[in-house]
Amino acid sequence: MTGGKALGTFRSFYVPAMLVGPATLIVLIPFIASLVVLGVYSVGFYPGGAGFDLGVWKTFLSDSYSWTVIFTSIRLAVIVTFFCLLIGYPVACALVRLDSMLMSIIAYTVIFSPLLMSVVVRSYGWLLLLSDSGFLNSLLGAWPLNLGPYRLIYNEIGVIIALVHILLPFAVLPLITVLLQQPQQLREAAADLGASPFAIFWKVTFPLSLPGVIVAAEIVFALAVSAFVTPAVLGGGRVLNLSRLVYENIGNIEWGLAAVQALILLIAAVGVLLILERFNRRTFGEKS
């Protein structure tokens, strides 16, 4: 009875309108308008276009190659999301346990530094590291290992490595937030009740952090599924995703096709995100 209805008196039309209005006006309306542009372009309404025509949609969707690309985009994003969470979770756990200021600064700076480096330059860092004659392979190839060289780049592996690298900070951030919010007493209580550290993690820490895991998954997935530069530079032509096709078709002045592909990417990604969101709600109840 307390709390949620705090502003009951002000729950009129005007308050939400005033709060949501500015963002809607200068950000969401342009965004929706640009979706409308994509929408009308995709059905043939653009200067020099043929007028209403669903042909582009039909052709694209009836081509098995299109589906290969759609699935590649989603599969790639799912794999990247999986690894970001797999790595990001223990990293976030370790980060919230750092008590030295100096170590904290170093760790946070290193983890967030990829964001400070232009994507193009960063990709070249990976080329130098992972190519057949690069740093890593020359290390592996040296005595006494004499291994390899392994093909770590110009294929999906390279793209996944580089995407995990750049998207990891986006996974770590929400995870740290939820881990910090967990009341210490809960774990103390569990320990008091005789739970082993392993049991505490699986029965208390992890379930409580799931909302953060899902937010992390959503952000990483969204960014990975629409990634463009990294797959283009490190994929060596082997990683075909929708973003790449959109880029090509804008270059080819195939506005309709580019718009169709952009919208399909949007629909596919929003579909996956809604599934995540539904899962989020079912597990944790309707939020606010």
């Binding site: 705090a6 949501v20 979706l35 790595i87 990293v91 400070l116 960063r122 740093f135 929400p174």
Partner: protein
């Protein structure tokens, strides 16, 4: 390491090892770029052929990089301010108020994250021209475009933070005589400061690294630094950009250090883990 309740020694040791390995992974491509920035070969020969500071000289003296840097700072600061100014009330409405169309709004908010940036750039370009607004090739146009791309991040960070602020403290402030806005400013804003800092940093960095959308929106006078870097790389492949990136990283670290010196210890402990009590 600060042990938390229910930690076992083995687990803490393992976490430390994972963190160490991940730090190496995160730093590796960056260190190699930094090392390459001193490479005297103009062809990225690895291992480096010799030591030189020429690329730094070049990076610092090329007029397009200087102008691009200024433009990027202006675009980054303005778009960050805009997105925080409109994103904070939006996040507040999502967390605290029930209104019609809220779930639709939340759905739309995910959009700018997943529409390919290229497509976003193209359709904004069409909009800017078709609306006759003069936004194309203007700083306002870039700021608007960047604000659009950042809004989902900013709102999701702020929603998470606002969710942590007990609405009852706002009632308390109102009860003590504060108006609705005053209560928000005096009680809620100070409590979400870490969120505002994180959201602002993410937004600024997004703007500072944006190429795919921006390239459709710029004219030369407003070219941002990443655009200039992109154009440079198309023609030249020497380590100038490695030097420029190293400078940018050094600059941001400097800013972080300055921030550390001026920030209150308490607020930082919140950001850096282990809630300060």
């Amino acid at each position: 390491m600060q042990a938390r309740a229910g930690d076992s020694k083995a687990a803490v040791l393992m976490l430390r090892m994972v963190l160490g390995a991940v730090l190496v992974f995160m730093a590796a491509p960056i260190l190699i770029v930094v090392a390459n920035s001193f490479n005297s070969s103009q062809f990225n020969v690895w291992p480096p052929a010799g030591f030189t500071l020429d690329w730094y000289h070049k990076a610092l003296t090329m007029p397009q990089f200087q102008r691009g840097f200024v433009n990027s700072v202006i675009a980054g600061v303005l778009s960050t301010l805009v997105v925080l100014a409109v994103g904070t009330p939006l996040a507040y409405a999502i967390v605290r108020i029930k209104f019609r169309g809220k779930s639709l709004l939340q759905g739309v908010l995910l959009g700018p994250l997943v529409v390919p940036r290229i497509a976003m750039g193209f359709s904004l370009f069409v909009l800017y021209l078709a609306s006759g607004s003069g936004l194309y090739g203007s700083m306002s146009g870039i700021v608007l475009g960047h604000a659009l791309l950042m809004l989902p991040f900013v709102v999701s960070v702020l929603v998470a933070n606002l969710g942590e602020v007990d609405p009852i403290v706002e009632e308390a402030a109102r009860d003590l005589g504060a108006g609705a806005v005053e209560a928000f400013v005096r009680v809620v804003l100070p409590q979400i400061r870490p969120g505002l800092i994180v959201a602002g940093l993410l937004a600024f960095i997004t703007s500072f690294d944006e190429v795919e959308t921006t390239i459709f929106l710029v004219k030369p006078v407003v070219n941002t630094l990443p655009i200039e870097m992109y154009l440079y790389l198309d023609q030249y492949q020497d380590p100038t950009l490695a030097a420029l990136s190293t400078l940018l990283i050094a600059l941001s670290m400097l800013l972080v250090l300055v921030g550390l010196m001026f920030a209150k210890r308490g607020s930082l402990r919140f950001l850096l883990g282990g809630r300060g009590a």
